[in-house]
Symmetry: C2
Subunit: 366 residues, 2 copies
DNA sequence: ATGAAAGCGCTAACAA
DNA sequence: TTGTTAGCGCTTTCAT
């Protein structure tokens, strides 16, 4: 029987035609024909499977080299019902935070033969839904999601189909049990606050991101909790609510400074990177100095330049570790699939990692 | 005839079995069976193709919804010999420079139905080769490559198979005609130098990255060329050769400062971001001030914090535009494939984009 | 040790 | 308008 591919090959030979995308693309069948063996034999040789006579194996291996055979992963995927691909959706690929996480994931899944498809949702819920749909269609074996859609239904599709999902950075509001890897955001705030309190600050303002999100909510909890630990009353007027944008940080800081007469504070804790930059600019614009007039602790601050003066003391997340832990959890789940015993005992896991303080010069003793 | 899938379904019903990864995963066949129509009819309805009686179409569409049918892109890819996927290999996903480019690419290919697989080579030639192999196996429809392997053979595989490849940032040393999108690096240096010369500087030092690479080489050409334009003799002793790392920038700057007595200069032009940071630190460490003692122009400097003082005047690349232009070229090539006429006239294109100067406070009039 | 053949889910040429 | 069927490239069972 003559296949379409055969026809193409013949045409190429006869007329020197190059048919788009198929030039020299050898298949198992092509190799088999050339060697007068069956496809299955070639397949076995390629995959080092089953028994193949050493002589045959050599002959095949040789031919594979000669004709530059490259296995077609698409066909393999269709057959094996596994694409060896992991989808990762993040809000912004330009943020070092996510870049590091991706590197961490890659570091552990890559040796296991998995490839990562990264999708940038651009902080848009619509895009996130689109990306989820697309990754599902591409039949990724697993998913990592830094969601901006807290109440997303779309991700259930994966859960329903028993495709492992690991949430990072933020938890969605859904009923199902889920896996997640993130820092302990309550603890993060406590670390920052304890540092300030240790420097004798007692009137500490805070700029919070969206409290809809676990990140924002937990960081606020930590702030309050640390104050209570130190027997300092919580003054709601010292709490400013923003989002995660720089200009919001600027605005919040301005608002706090506007009423610093009535509601004084000597230190401020800003709970996201971009808001931190905004807050610092607001302070500078008022002619106030850090840390002489106000001590400041930021969050997630990455100063790649190393040139910001004064250096900003900041809460940091172990991004790389978040990545590798996510990768490990992913691999564990992937290995569990199809293994009835371990699947029954598989509990969902929330892995909480430790944030840490990077101390520079933006805080001083009161 | 009873297929394996049928068996699985039956087992599920009989025993409540969940067979890994196949739960509820409806196929065209399943839908067809439920409606007592043929797969092709369902297929036609799904793809809005050919003629389907309106009544049937509605019935099918309804069923697709009801059973949550999601097309299997893997199967489609195998059939259509096109994965609707574009591979992108970059040296470091954490660099904003590449992040922006990826966003730009995504912006234009995504509406055309393409998905991007990003691979981080970690600046390693070995990884780059691995990634190329993997992307080829996954049969990406096209490739974008910011190569670190100037003499790579592996990429020829794509070219040979008529898979569009677009190089960005750097050109490899190969004989084939290739497509590329990058800035005019000669012009970039000229812009920087003209700025300094316009401020009356005549003794201008330069720190060059690897001249093996087109980026380094061209930037050096531009430096010399701008001097000649202004009738300033080139003094080789003012040229320091580094790589693209921060510590090398530091070292080079130190070396230049060490002999500033014999070979004086009033300004320095540093040709990469990280080297710029290193150079600034070297200057600071010597107790010299920018721009009072030395004027400085950097390259690719991204100060996300906006807090570096003085602000660094820098050559910038239009990253986003590099991305969109790359995307457009990609789409053009993809559309040309299989279209004999346009393919014959298809010329390889090097798209040179304009760099620009971002002027801040690190240069002053001499 | 090797081969024949079925089938993964889908599309499309051809037939009815 | 709808159905039948072959085949995309591969793996795997079953037969030889």
């Amino acid at each position: 029987m003559i296949t379409a591919n055969d026809c193409r090959k013949r045409l190429q030979n006869l007329w020197g035609w190059e048919t788009a995308g198929m030039v020299n693309s050898n298949t198992l069948k092509d190799i088999a024909k050339k060697l007068n063996v069956s496809v299955s034999t070639v397949s076995r040789a390629v995959n080092n499977k089953s028994y193949v006579k050493e002589e045959t194996r050599q002959k095949v291996l040789q031919a594979l080299k000669e004709y530059h055979y490259v296995p077609n992963e698409i066909a393999r995927s269709l057959k094996s019902q596994s694409t060896k691909t992991i989808g990762v959706i993040i809000p912004d690929i330009c943020e070092m935070f996510f870049g590091q996480i991706i590197k961490g994931i890659d570091e552990v899944v890559s040796p296991e033969g998995y490839t990562i498809i990264v999708s940038d949702s651009g902080e848009s819920k619509t895009n996130e839904a689109r990306d989820l749909e697309m990754l599902f269609q591409k039949r990724v074996d697993a998913l990592v999601l830094a969601t901006v859609e807290l109440k997303g239904k779309k991700v259930l599709q994966f859960l329903d189909h028993d495709i492992p999902v690991v949430f990072i950075d933020n938890l969605p509001v859904i009923e199902q049990e889920i896996d997640a890897v993130m820092i302990d955001n309550v603890e993060a705030s406590k670390i920052a606050m304890r540092h300030l309190i240790g420097l004798n600050h007692r009137e500490i303002a805070v700029i919070i991101g969206s409290i809809e999100e676990t990140t924002g909510y937990d960081r606020m909890l930590g702030y309050k909790s640390a104050l209570r630990e130190a027997d300092i009353p919580v003054d709601e007027r010292l709490i400013a609510y923003g989002n995660y944008k720089e200009n919001k940080g600027y605005e919040c800081m301005c608002a706090l400074l506007d009423r610093i007469g009535e509601v004084p504070f000597t230190a401020v804790y800003v709970t996201s990177e971009m808001m931190t930059f905004g807050a610092i600019k607001a302070i500078n614009d008022r002619g106030l100095r850090i840390p002489e007039d106000i001590s400041l602790i930021g969050f997630d601050v990455h100063d790649k330049t190393g040139l910001v003066v004064p250096g900003i003391t900041t809460v940091r997340q172990p991004e790389s570790l978040i990545g590798t832990k996510t990768g490990e959890l992913l691999i564990k789940r992937l290995k569990q699939k199809g293994n009835k015993k371990s699947r029954q005992t598989a509990k969902c896991r929330k892995i909480l990692l430790d944030p840490y303080l990077e101390i520079k010069q933006s805080c001083r003793k009161k």
